[in-house]
């Protein structure tokens, strides 16, 4: 069956095929007359080679290549992911930086406002204190003045009494005279 197929194949190829005729029964072989033994050995040797190569050569080589390609792809994917992560981190940091800057400005503004307020408060307080002190001083001065006036008046009364006593020691008792003078003096004081 196979041989007839081979013969058909050969026959188709050799359009002018005197070789076949020559090779028929004679031991001589034409260039186009396939030898069965060689075909047998070709099948055997090629089959063995195919089996061994595909099992022990091509499979490990191709799997090594695929492993390397996979590793390369993985590395590329990883690098891409890393790059995306880095970009994300950068954006985040930028945002944080912006936020920090805004915060700082706010803090500065607040500080400035607080300082302003504190200064104003202090100024106000100082002014009030000054005012109070002034008032107190005024009051004290007034009180001292009143005290001094009263003292002076008392001194004057005493002096007057002493003077008057020297003048009229004899006829007038102290109490009646003192009352009289006091009455007089107070009338002066009220006027």
């Amino acid at each position: 069956m196979r041989s007839s197929l081979i013969r058909a194949v050969v026959l188709l190829s050799a359009t002018a095929a005197p070789a076949l005729a020559a090779g028929g029964d004679a031991p001589a072989r034409g260039l186009l007359d396939p030898a069965g033994g060689l075909m047998f050995w070709t099948v055997l040797v090629f089959g063995t080679t195919f089996f061994i190569l595909s099992k022990f050569a091509f499979k490990p080589i191709l799997s090594a290549v695929e492993g390397r390609e996979q590793a390369l792809r993985d590395a590329m994917d990883e690098a891409k992911a890393d790059r995306e992560l880095a970009a994300q981190l950068l954006a985040e940091q930028k945002q944080q930086l912006d936020a920090a800057r805004t915060d700082a400005q706010k803090i500065i503004a607040d500080g400035r406002a607080t300082a302003e307020k504190m200064r104003n408060d202090l100024l106000e307080q100082t002014r009030t204190q000054q005012h109070d002190m002034l008032e107190r001083a005024k009051r004290d001065i007034e009180a001292e003045k009143q005290g001094a006036i009263a003292e002076l008046r008392r001194e004057a009364v005493d002096l007057a009494i002493a003077g008057a006593g020297k003048v009229i020691e004899k006829n007038l008792d102290d109490a009646a005279n003192r009352a009289l003078v006091d009455k007089y003096l107070s009338s002066i004081g009220t006027k």
């Binding site: 069956m1 196979r2 041989s3 007839s4 197929l5 081979i6 013969r7 058909a8 194949v9 050969v10 188709l12 190829s13 050799a14 359009t15 002018a16 095929a17 005197p18 070789a19 020559a22 090779g23 004679a26 031991p27 001589a28 072989r29 034409g30 260039l31 186009l32 007359d33 396939p34 030898a35 069965g36 033994g37 060689l38 075909m39 047998f40 050995w41 070709t42 099948v43 040797v45 090629f46 063995t48 080679t49 195919f50 061994i52 190569l53 595909s54 022990f56 050569a57 091509f58 499979k59 490990p60 080589i61 191709l62 090594a64 290549v65 492993g67 390397r68 590793a71």
Partner: protein, 340 residues
């Protein structure tokens, strides 16, 4: 005499003439010469060159035919110039024979059988050691270097640029087979360029077998990809035509479709065989010119040409392995994609 060479080359290139006989062949049975073209084409050694050109001389020695055909002896290097710096090592005969129909299969090793063994051994050794190197380097997380790197470059080129684009979707299953075909043919081709060796891929039996295996792979790929639709690749049945047109078209096209199935692997086999054989014939014919002219003075020119042809052969060795693989991929892709 010279025209004899031309005729020989022409005949071999056309792949039509029987270049069967080898008169002084190392083979135990000396086959009889049966064609006038062969006698005219025989290259002269000292004995042959004494005769006049064109004579029906049996004393002439054919150096080309034994070289391009199979034999029952290996040629090994020797320092003895009387035997052409070669000793012949007879291979064992009488290994089991069996018959497939009327087709006799003699499993006794021949020269090209041994060449197949050698090339397979070299290939397996190189590839498996490359794979080992790959695993060793991959364990360290490094790319391969040296031979393993070169092998990887070839494997990846064939897989990514030739096989996968042509086989089509889910083509990974065919990668090991097509890579094996490529490297097997390449090794055998290159081994044929080594002195004292033979070109296994320059024999129709080898190329026809490889083509036959490829044929089976193509058709099984078609059956698996198309299922019942595989019949559509044999019987052409155009659905978009009226019935009265379909039948005659089908009757005409179906035989063509069927023939194309067989012509494809045939072309593969003949292409590889003819390319590998032709180069060797040209080289031998050029070297034969030195003996034909019986002069050392003429020698540099044919030798320079022979060197040039050998360099060309080096390229052809790669090219033919590549083309065989490329076309196999294309054929597998074609049958898997065909929806009638």
């Amino acid at each position: 005499m010279k025209s004899g060479f031309l005729r020989l080359v022409l005949a071999a290139l056309c792949a039509a003439a029987p270049l069967a006989a080898q008169e002084h062949a190392p083979a135990p049975q000396a086959p009889a010469a049966d064609s006038a073209a062969l006698h005219a084409a025989t290259a002269g050694d000292e004995a042959g060159a004494q005769k006049t050109a064109g004579a029906e001389s049996t004393a002439k020695k054919d150096i080309i035919t034994p070289h391009i055909t199979d034999g029952n002896a290996l040629e090994l290097p020797s320092l003895n110039p009387d035997h052409g710096f070669a000793t012949h090592f007879a291979l064992p005969t009488g290994w089991p024979k069996f018959h497939i129909g009327s087709f006799e299969v003699d499993t006794s090793p021949t020269k090209l059988t041994v060449m197949l063994w050698i090339s397979a051994a070299i290939l397996i050794f190189l590839m498996v050691s490359a794979a080992r190197a790959h695993q060793r380097r991959a364990a360290q997380g490094l790319p391969p270097k040296g031979l393993a790197g070169a092998m990887e470059a070839m494997i990846l080129y064939m897989r990514n640029e030739v096989i996968l684009p042509n086989v089509g979707h889910h083509g990974e299953a065919f990668v090991p087979y097509l890579l094996s075909i490529f490297f097997f043919i390449l090794t055998a081709n290159l081994l044929g360029l080594v002195p004292y060796m033979g070109t296994a891929t320059g024999n129709i039996a080898v190329t026809a077998t490889l083509a036959l295996v490829t044929f089976l792979v193509i058709e099984i790929a078609g059956m698996r990809a198309l299922g019942k639709g595989y019949l559509g690749t044999i019987i052409y049945w155009p659905h978009d035509m009226p019935l009265y047109m379909r039948i005659p078209i089908s009757l005409i096209i179906s035989p063509v479709e069927l023939m194309s199935k067989f012509i494809k692997p045939t072309a593969l086999a003949i292409r590889l065989f003819a390319n590998m054989t032709a180069g060797h014939i040209v080289v031998l014919a050029l070297i034969g010119l030195v003996f034909t002219f019986q002069s050392y003075l003429i020698a540099p020119a044919p030798l320079a040409m022979a060197v040039a042809i050998m360099l060309l052969e080096l390229m052809v060795a790669f090219l033919q392995a590549f083309i065989f693989t490329l076309l196999s991929s294309v054929f597998i892709g074609l049958v898997r994609e065909s929806h009638h």
